[in-house]
Symmetry: C2
Subunit: 90 residues, 2 copies
């Protein structure tokens, strides 16, 4: 069944203590090439029928309204999973 992916990241101006902990832990483990790590969420919504532009628009709205807290988070990607995997995913 088709899957729509929604990706949400903390806004650039918001501190991300979880990401900060990860970049510190990586540095202690010798992986010091990374200057910052930020951690967001990836939602996979499985739909019954076909994915068309209208459904994607609905999901875009729903992502802004319900999946992301737009005070502190941005929706950075909404799209069908197969498209993203054709670009090197999974």
């Amino acid at each position: 069944m088709p899957t729509i992916v929604v990706e949400v990241m903390p806004k650039a101006e918001i501190l991300d203590p979880q990401g900060k902990a990860v970049v510190g832990a990586l540095a202690r483990l010798g992986k010091d090439k990374f200057s910052a790590v930020r951690i967001g969420k990836r939602f996979e919504l499985t739909v019954e029928g076909p994915v068309d532009e209208a459904l994607l628009a609905e999901v875009r709205e729903l992502a802004e309204d319900m999946l992301a807290n737009t005070v502190i988070e941005d929706v950075v990607f909404v799209g069908e999973a197969s498209t993203s995997s054709a670009c090197g995913g999974s």
Copy 2:
């Protein structure tokens, strides 16, 4: 500065109660087109220098070893942020 994206999802055979709660909430709000929701993580690692195949291979290894708990999670995507945005992201 270039950013490498790592995406981690719970394995298919692992229950995802957080996703289950979201799909239930969406249904109660009238969004009943979705048969399942699963929630994973999206890491953005900012690097200082250029991103080459060697660095991506290192991040792939690091993702499996440190960012994902491979007992319950799969790494579904590792790649440079600009490439994924060329495919419709952000």
